[in-house]
C-alpha cells in the first residue's frame, strides 16, 4: 500500500514539474510578452491610421473630408520628380553619414585606446557631441556654416586677405552644393562618439601579445590592422553600421534646424519631404504613402546589410 501511495506522490510531482517546465524559447517569449503587447498597443493604431491615410485624398476646403483613392498616392509618388530627388538625397546623406560615423568612430576609438595620459578627460570630451540634442547640434552647425559669421566665410576671407568689412564677402556653406555632405558630417559628428566607445570596448579585448606576434611575423601596419585590430571589431562595426543607417534615414530634426531642406530642395531628404508635404502643404495622403516607401527603404537596406555582411559574421 505504502509503495503505491509513494508512486502516486511521485507521479503527481512529475506532472507538476511537467506543467511548469518551459523551453528557453518559451521562457524568452514569456519575458518579452509584456513589451510586445505594449508595442502592439502603441504602434498598431498610428500604423493602421497611416496605412488608411496613405490611401485617402484629404481635403480641407469646406470642412475636413477624405475620400478613398486606393494606391493613387503611392503611384503619384513614383511619378514625382521630387520624390526621386529626395530618394537620391537620402541615399547620399545616409551613405556619407554612415561611412563618416564609422570612420570617425574607429579613429576616436583607436585614439582613446592608444592614449595613456589624460584618458578620462579625453573620453569625456569625445562623448560630449553624442550627449547633445540634435536640435541643439543643428543650431550650432547652422551658425558655423552660414554666411557672414560662419566659419566658411571667415576662412575664405582670411585666406584671400580680405580682413576689412568692405572687402569681406559672404560665403555660406549652407547654400552650397556641399550641403548634403555637410549635413552628413554633422550627423556623423553626433553619432561617432557612441560608435567609438563600443569599438573601444572591443579593442580592449585584443591580447597585447597578438601585436607582438604580428611583429615577429613582420606584418606591415596595414596587415596588422587587418589581421589583429579589425577582426574583433567586425561584429560591432556591422551592428553600428545598421544602427547609424537606420538613425540617419529617419533623421529629421537636425536637417530641419540646419538647412530646412534647402537651399531650394537641395537637402530635402525623404523625412524632410514627407514632413513638408504633411505639415506645410497638408498633403497627408501623399506624405503617408512616402512614409511607407521610407519604411521599405529602411527595412530593405537593413536586411541587405544583414544578408551581405551580418550573416557571414555569425560563424566566427
Amino acid at each position: 500500500m505504502a509503495s503505491r501511495a509513494e508512486a502516486r506522490i511521485q507521479n503527481e510531482a512529475k506532472l507538476a514539474l511537467k506543467r511548469i517546465e518551459l523551453s528557453n524559447r518559451q521562457f524568452a517569449m514569456l519575458l518579452a510578452l509584456p513589451v510586445i503587447l505594449f508595442l502592439v498597443m502603441v504602434m498598431a493604431y498610428p500604423m493602421g491610421y497611416a496605412i488608411w491615410l496613405s490611401m485617402q485624398e484629404v481635403s480641407f476646403f469646406g470642412g475636413f473630408r477624405t475620400s478613398f483613392v486606393g494606391i493613387e498616392n503611392y503611384r503619384e509618388a513614383l511619378y514625382s520628380d521630387n520624390f526621386w530627388w529626395s530618394v537620391r538625397v537620402t541615399v547620399q546623406f545616409v551613405s556619407v553619414s554612415v561611412v563618416l560615423a564609422m570612420l570617425i568612430g574607429l579613429g576616436l576609438a583607436l585614439l582613446m585606446h592608444r592614449v595613456r595620459r589624460g584618458r578620462a578627460l579625453l573620453g569625456t570630451i569625445i562623448i560630449l557631441p553624442w550627449s547633445m540634442s540634435l536640435y541643439g547640434a543643428g543650431v550650432m552647425w547652422q551658425y558655423l556654416a552660414r554666411g557672414q559669421s560662419g566659419v566658411a566665410s571667415s576662412l575664405i576671407n582670411r585666406m584671400l586677405g580680405r580682413t576689412t568689412p568692405d572687402t569681406a564677402v559672404e560665403y555660406s556653406l549652407i547654400s552650397s552644393e556641399q550641403i548634403v555632405n555637410l549635413l552628413a558630417l554633422g550627423n556623423a559628428w553626433n553619432l561617432a562618439p557612441l560608435v567609438a566607445f563600443f569599438l573601444l570596448a572591443n579593442l580592449k579585448t585584443i591580447p597585447e601579445r597578438l601585436y607582438d606576434l604580428a611583429r615577429v611575423d613582420r606584418l606591415n601596419i596595414w596587415q596588422r590592422f587587418l589581421n589583429v585590430t579589425l577582426p574583433p571589431l567586425q561584429y560591432t562595426l556591422f551592428v553600428f553600421t545598421t544602427i547609424t543607417l537606420i538613425l540617419s534615414m529617419k533623421l529629421l530634426d537636425f536637417i530641419f534646424v540646419m538647412s530646412a531642406g534647402g537651399p531650394g530642395d537641395a537637402s530635402a531628404t525623404l523625412t524632410f519631404r514627407l514632413f513638408d508635404l504633411a505639415f506645410r502643404q497638408s498633403n497627408y495622403g501623399l506624405s503617408a504613402a512616402i512614409s511607407f516607401y521610407l519604411l521599405f527603404l529602411i527595412i530593405g537596406s537593413a536586411l541587405a546589410l544583414f544578408f551581405f555582411w551580418g550573416r557571414r559574421l555569425e560563424d566566427t
Binding site: 601579445r209 606576434l213 611583429r215 611575423d217 613582420r218 577582426p231
Partner: protein, 351 residues
C-alpha cells in the same frame, strides 16, 4: 656555430630594474629553460632576445650574429607565445602561412616547409579550423608548426603550455622535447613550472628578482643548489630549512637552533663558514621518530597528504614553521601526534 650569447644584459622600465644583469651562453642546439616565479624578469628577458623590448644595455647574439638592435623579424627567431597564441580569425593553415607571408621564402619552398611541418606535427586534420574550434593541444601543435616553418636559428617559447590542463601538459612535454631534439634548434623556454624545467631543459637558468640565481643542468640545480632560493624553488615537495646560527663548537661545527645544536659535516662548514644560517634538507632525507634522539627536532603532525605510493607528513614546530617529510605508505602517524625529525646530514645543504 654558437647558439645564443647574452652578455651583460640589463633592462629597466623607468626606475624599475626588470633585469639587473645577465650573462648567458646557450650552446647550439641546447634546450634552455628559464625558470622563475612571476615577475622575476624571465618574460622580459625573452622579449629582449626576441626584439620585442629594447635592451637598456648589453648585447645579444643569435647564431654568432649581433642582433641587439635588429627588429624581431630580422633576428632569425620563431616565437611561441603563452596559450599558443594564434590569429583568431584565421584558419590553422592561414596562421602557419602568416609566418612566411612577408619573408623572402619562395612559394615552392614555403609549400615544402609547410607540408613538412604539417606532417611532423600531425595537424593535417585541423588545417581548415580556426583557433576557437581547436582543442588546446591542437592549438599548441599549430603554434609549433607556425614556428618551425620559419626554419629559425632559435625558438623562443613563453610558457606555451601554461594554459593547458595538467594531463595534456604531461603528454605534450615529451613531444616538445623530442621535436626539439629532432630539429636540433637552440631553444629558450620560459616557465614558472619547475617540473617543466626539470623535464625539458638541457640547461636551466633560475631567475629571481631580475637576477640569475643559478645556471646548470637539471641535476646540478637539484643536487647542488647555489642559493637558498634555488633550493626552495626546485623540488616537490619543497626543501625544508632549519634556521639558526652556525658555529664551530668543541665537538665540531653545528647549527645552533632553539632546540639545541645540530651537528654539521665538516665539508659543508668549510665551504660556508660562519656566514650560514639555515640548513636545507629535502623531504626524503628526513626520518621521523616518536622518540627523541640526539640532535632531533620536535614537530607536531599538522597534516598528512597521501600520494598513494608515499605520503607527505607536514609538521609544525613550536614557532609554526612548516616541515615536509616524505615517508612510505605504512607510516602509521596521525594528525596531532608529537614526533622528532632526524635530518640526514650527509644530504644537507647550508645557506
Amino acid at each position: 656555430m654558437s647558439g645564443i650569447e647574452i652578455t651583460n644584459l640589463r633592462k629597466s622600465f623607468g626606475n624599475v630594474k626588470a633585469i639587473e644583469e645577465m650573462t648567458l651562453t646557450i650552446p647550439n642546439g641546447v634546450f634552455c629553460v628559464i625558470l622563475g616565479p612571476s615577475g622575476c624578469g624571465k618574460s622580459t628577458m625573452l622579449n629582449c632576445v626576441a626584439g620585442l623590448e629594447d635592451v637598456t644595455s648589453g648585447t645579444i647574439k643569435i647564431g654568432g650574429r649581433d642582433v641587439t638592435n635588429l627588429p624581431p623579424h630580422a633576428r632569425d627567431i620563431a616565437m611561441v607565445f603563452q596559450s599558443s597564441l594564434l590569429y583568431p580569425h584565421l584558419t590553422a593553415l592561414q596562421n602557419v602561412r602568416m609566418s612566411l607571408k612577408n619573408s623572402d621564402t619562395g612559394a615552392v619552398e614555403a609549400k615544402r616547409r609547410i607540408d613538412h611541418a604539417v606532417g611532423i606535427l600531425e595537424i593535417a586534420s585541423v588545417l581548415d579550423k580556426k583557433p576557437g574550434a581547436m582543442s588546446g593541444g591542437q592549438r599548441q601543435r599549430v603554434a609549433m608548426a607556425k614556428a618551425i616553418v620559419r626554419n629559425p636559428t632559435a625558438f623562443l617559447m613563453d610558457e606555451p603550455l601554461a594554459a593547458l590542463d595538467a594531463a595534456l601538459r604531461q603528454s605534450l612535454r615529451p613531444e616538445l622535447a623530442a621535436l626539439q631534439r629532432q630539429l636540433g634548434t637552440t631553444t629558450i623556454f620560459v616557465t614558472h613550472d619547475q617540473v617543466e624545467a626539470m623535464t625539458l631543459g638541457d640547461l636551466i637558468v633560475v631567475m629571481n628578482d631580475g637576477r640569475v640565481e643559478q645556471i646548470g643542468t637539471p641535476d646540478e640545480i637539484y643536487n647542488n643548489p647555489a642559493t637558498k632560493f634555488v633550493a626552495a624553488f626546485i623540488g616537490s615537495p619543497p626543501m625544508n630549512f632549519f634556521e639558526g646560527q652556525v658555529e664551530d663548537l668543541n665537538n665540531g661545527p653545528a647549527l645552533r637552533t632553539q632546540y639545541g645544536p645540530i651537528a654539521i659535516p665538516r665539508h659543508l662548514f668549510d665551504r660556508m663558514g660562519g656566514r650560514a644560517h639555515s640548513l636545507g634538507v629535502r623531504p626524503q632525507h628526513i626520518d621521523i621518530n616518536r622518540t627523541k634522539t640526539d640532535g632531533s627536532i620536535p614537530g607536531t603532525v599538522f597534516a598528512i597528504e597521501n600520494l598513494g605510493k608515499e605520503s607527505v607528513i607536514i609538521l609544525h614546530d613550536t614557532a609554526g614553521h612548516d616541515y615536509r617529510v616524505l615517508v612510505g605508505p605504512d607510516h602509521g602517524y596521525s594528525v596531532g601526534e608529537s614526533t622528532y625529525m632526524c635530518p640526514d646530514l650527509s644530504q644537507a645543504h647550508l645557506f
